[in-house]
Symmetry: C2
């Protein structure tokens, strides 16, 4: 054809066929259900926003990835880079109608002009939940419990919430003798500890961050303390007793760990890890991540308290805490580990058509199956040979096929063929329905 349209999906974007849609639905529905059980409400914001809510807020590296352009009215607009910033915009615009604390979750696509590579996509789903308008760290504890429940429900068994406090790190840095303005650079280096080890972090602190070896060691000594949570908190308390922000952090962490004890949370699911910093600059209190321990999956959620962000939109302080689960990563692991059974087809049964004269018989059976909520494909071409129809079922992985020939019509039965085993059985319509509902 001369005028055939050249077709190509954009690089970094994906089409989802039935299997991918279903795996994503499985994960997303679990998050929705758990979030709602904890009283979080859904929020959805537009794909497009005025750019000004993002520009200047997320750093140069982020801005390089913006899908930003001018609309027909000359407005400077962009596709949403994250779901958190539009949430702030929504809260600010509806500040007089929203009842605080406002617990909202948001599971929507965002767009980033990333260099396409394995595991990096330009369109992906963010899954956030946050409690807005309360500075109580009970909200933080609740989020961690909720995350553990969601990951358990998805099917994960070996994972852990690694918990720390930015205030504690701030106190430790102060105690060690570093200045407040060195806090964020130090945090970025500290975050690498589990990956590169103490010696390399120390080297980075000294060479890149210009922290003295003594100060570096003092920091590293404290954040690498090990032990049971209570023991560790006691040790830190003793050393940091004159640093108010550290004592505040320890108080908050104690509230969180007490919460876990009260709800009898299995200890294997959480760990006080004083070296966790979570790179982002905006955290102000407790921070935590969920780490899948089996395989080399690593962190699947970054979370924490951020009491200073929403205020920039609202014009007065609005405390907030919550986190973001990496749906893409979770889906990838579920797929590669075959953690759930997802069929590659929707139809459970194909009703074939023996010939034109017997079409009505097949239609009636198909209709009856559908009335019983059995996903049914009626073969649409009465003149196609039965063999072609069976091949269709086979190629499409439809588990069962029904054949209704002249003999079956006379006997008031249908032939049910199991496409996996090849076995056939003759059933009354009633038995057919019973069989398909229970198989």
């Amino acid at each position: 054809m001369a005028d055939q349209i050249k077709v190509q999906k954009l690089a970094g974007f994906r089409d989802y066929f039935v299997e991918d849609v279903k795996i994503r639905e499985y994960v997303i529905n679990i998050f929705k259900k758990v979030f709602e059980k904890y009283g979080y409400e859904p929020l959805e914001t537009p794909a497009l926003e005025n750019s000004n809510i993002f520009v200047g807020e997320l750093g140069d590296e982020a801005e390089k990835l913006f899908y930003r352009f001018k609309d027909q009215g000359g407005r400077d607009i962009m596709l949403k880079y994250d779901v958190m910033t539009p949430m702030c915009r929504t809260v600010a615009e509806n500040i007089n109608n929203i009842i605080f604390p406002y617990k909202r979750y948001q599971i929507q696509n965002v767009w980033r002009s990333e260099k396409p590579q394995k595991g990096r996509f330009r369109e992906f789903t963010q899954c956030d939940a946050d409690t807005i308008g309360s500075s109580s760290v009970i909200c933080d504890a609740e989020f961690i419990q909720m995350g553990i429940e969601a990951l358990t429900n998805i099917g994960f068994k070996e994972f852990r919430a690694n918990i720390n406090s930015r205030k504690l790190l701030s106190g430790i840095i102060q105690f060690a003798g570093a200045s407040e303005k060195e806090f964020i650079p130090i945090c970025i280096s500290i975050d690498k500890l589990p990956k590169i080890g103490r010696e390399k972090v120390k080297k980075e602190l000294i060479e890149k961050r210009k922290i003295s070896p003594e100060v570096s060691d003092k920091i590293l000594d404290l954040i690498t303390l090990t032990g049971e949570t209570e023991e560790l908190l006691t040790k830190l308390k003793k050393q940091l007793t004159n640093i108010p922000i550290a004592m505040e952090a320890i108080d908050e962490l104690e509230i969180i760990f007490d919460y876990f004890k009260t709800v009898k949370l299995d200890k294997k699911f959480y760990l006080f890890t004083p070296f966790i910093a979570r790179g982002l600059a905006y955290y102000t209190g407790p921070v935590w991540e969920f780490e899948i321990l089996e395989g080399e999956v690593g962190s699947v959620a970054g979370c924490g308290r951020y009491d200073n962000i929403i205020g920039k939109f609202v014009g007065k302080e609005v405390a907030a805490t919550g986190g973001s689960f990496g749906i893409e990563r979770l889906v990838e692991v579920i797929k590669s580990r075959k953690m759930i059974n997802i069929s590659s087809t929707i139809g459970k049964v194909l009703v074939t058509i023996f010939d034109k004269e017997l079409f009505d018989n097949s239609l009636i059976v198909a209709d009856e199956l559908r009335k019983n909520n059995i996903s049914t494909i009626l073969y649409p071409v009465p003149t196609d040979k039965l063999d072609k129809q069976l091949k269709y079922a086979n190629k499409k992985n439809i588990p069962y096929v029904i054949i209704i020939g002249p003999e079956e019509v006379v006997n008031g039965k249908v032939v049910l063929k199991d496409m996996k085993t090849g076995e056939q059985q003759k059933l009354t319509q009633q038995d057919l329905i019973k069989f398909l509902i229970s198989n």
Copy 2:
């Protein structure tokens, strides 16, 4: 604050809070369930596409509404204008992997730079289902049955599928003596018949379309014939017996109406309406719309067979039929008629905190409720007065509140307050769970 960010949602876009999300979910889940019962598989395509798949395909009016821009790599890209065109792109790109007939549904957002006005939005949800790769009109009949089922399940009682055939209209126009190239303009005028009446359509045919009064009358006489479906088909058959395309259309319509009889579809839900044309140029066979008859809702779905579209992407003919349900319109009607009960909150119950000492008691109750799948909000600030906590429940429309004071702790009971009636009762934890599950 000096550096407060100016916040404003873009005109023509919407934030969805809990009620809107839930009404949309209600409608979308019904479509999903019904589509899947009929064997249609979900498909999701990216928000962004190369512009070339849309440009030149949808007409000048559509192109004015494109969100089209250059990405960072200089690619000419755009937000998807509809879900049908990306489906064609997907089918073409995966032509060797897709098993035909391919039954797919697609419920996703699309973007159009419409002038913002009541009921028109720049971001809205399309809900399409199509059978691709079969020219059998059994697929068309099945779609109509499926649409009736979906609208019934949503809660509509007075609605109808108005069914016609573009081939029949083509035959009528030929019979009346108009030329093939006048077909589309005539269809556009005919489509206005139910709104403006025969006389005005005739005037438009004569003045705007330059059709002679005789030809116009001949067309209008045939398309305004009334009667029961079979009677009408017989009348048309008699007159159009020498017009092959009309006879082909009547054969196809008979297959469709026979299908309805076989599955005992209630006659009130469908009508053979020879004047329905459906404006779009691309239909090639049966066309139909779903019309809500109560109120002034009108058409909520445009549907039909389009055997020539996908071929432009694939390079060989690929038959297709299906339609698009107007989710926005349906949601609007459901809301304005209060057809379903949607709570403005997710939490069913607020567990208050009597004081700091009794926090654990409240937490344990909240946790137990959640373990029983009851959506529970735990008030997060132990130091807030009970009155403030009750006000929070009231403002948020949380139906029930739980209070656990020192007396309750001693008696092993909790106070449950019904926020609507103000009634209070003391219950054991077991009875509380029973009550909340069944109320």
